[in-house]
Amino acid sequence: MELGSLRLAMPTAVLAIVLSTAGRPEHSGAAALPGQDLQAKLEYCKTCHGLSGQGYYGYFPIPRLAGQQPKYLENQLRAFNERRRTNPVMANVAHSLSPWMVAALAAHFRNLDARPIGGGPKDRVATGRTIYQEGLPESDVPACSACHGPEAKGQDEIPRLAGQLFPYTVNELTNWSKERGQGGTKVDTSAIMTPTAHNLTQSQIAAIAAYLSYLP
């Protein structure tokens, strides 16, 4: 009885929050369309990004979204759509999402707290922690913690890194300037990471990614 009413109350409460923060008049009535239904769209996202948003090892690593900063998610979806971030699959996904849907999805993933999958080489974790917390002054690499926070939870448009999939972090840092900030004219906040990603060696990237992959 109590469980039943809770189950009913929870989605309603979530919807109420979502609608009150991001509701737009043009959305009313659109919920009947399959592509506009939040639950169906969440299931779509989680088919690839994991049922708890924990990420997934496909042929390509599919990043963790659980606990991600909503502003970062919204920025990235816009970047995919505007081809500033190169990813044909996600460009297609982002193109189909209304601003209302993006806000609702981002708010949902923000509140997920899946356990990290882990998977990075354990013997690199200690080195990774040191680089993350202190940087590499001799290579002009600032401490990651300075922007991403001591627990790697991120803030606003600065992404959470804690619990991110090892091969995903490695790929992103390795290909930063080839994947992000593309297309020239538009301002893209990813530029801030370009020198740092450039100054890291493959071994240092692996160490940082290993450390983050286990971070709750």
């Binding site: 592509g35 042929y59 390509f60 699959v89």
Partner: protein, 198 residues
């Protein structure tokens, strides 16, 4: 004569490179090839095993023996076949078949292949259909426990997708939820496209 020699030579390379796998000695390969074809290329309803990912083959054998893969033909043939399989034998079977060269079934509808390719690569976000490529690879080659789909037969691919939609093999997440989003036409297109992929 020449072709016989070269085949024998290939077999010799095979058995020596395969290490513990020497077909017919430690594991009864003929028990599989009876249905799956002498070179593991599949036959009517039994899918191609040649070139399949070895971890996937092991996982499926376990799913048959634990009755998690409960599709009608699996139940009819593979439950018994996998019932008394020990992990060592499962691994050896998997190593053997995964190392055979794969071919394409080419039995789909050529006219649907282009539409299938588009769904395979990009999905259809408006209908909440995910991209297959992200997990199964750009060439449908699979990786680790994720199966190769390229070159499997149209009928097998179609049946599997249909049966996930009907509730069979529910343990194989995320495929049941993927299949539920696909229409009959979309399944036709995907199965057609994949049957031609080498």
């Amino acid at each position: 004569m020449k072709s016989i020699t070269s085949k024998l030579a290939m077999l010799a390379i095979f058995f020596s490179a395969g290490g513990p796998v020497s077909a017919g000695e430690t594991i009864p390969i003929r028990n599989c090839t009876w249905c799956h074809g002498t070179s593991g290329q599949g036959f009517t309803t039994a899918p191609r095993l040649a070139g399949q990912r070895h971890q996937y083959i092991i996982n499926e054998l376990m799913d048959f023996s634990r009755h998690r893969r409960d599709n009608p033909l699996s139940k009819q043939y593979m439950w018994d076949a996998a019932a008394n399989l020990n992990p060592r034998a499962a691994r050896d079977f998997a190593m053997y078949f995964s190392s055979l060269p794969t071919r394409a079934a080419n039995d789909g509808d050529q006219e649907l292949a282009a539409a299938g390719k588009k769904i395979y690569e990009l999905g259809i976000p408006e209908s909440n259909i995910v991209s297959c490529l992200v997990c199964h690879g750009p060439n449908a080659e699979g990786v680790r426990q994720i199966p190769r789909l390229g070159g499997l037969s149209y009928f097998y691919l179609k049946k599997r997708l249909q049966q996930w939609g009907e509730g069979y093999h529910a343990a194989a997440e995320p495929m049941p939820r993927v299949a539920r989003t696909l229409s009959a036409n979309e399944i036709d297109a995907l199965a057609s496209y994949l049957s031609f992929v080498k």
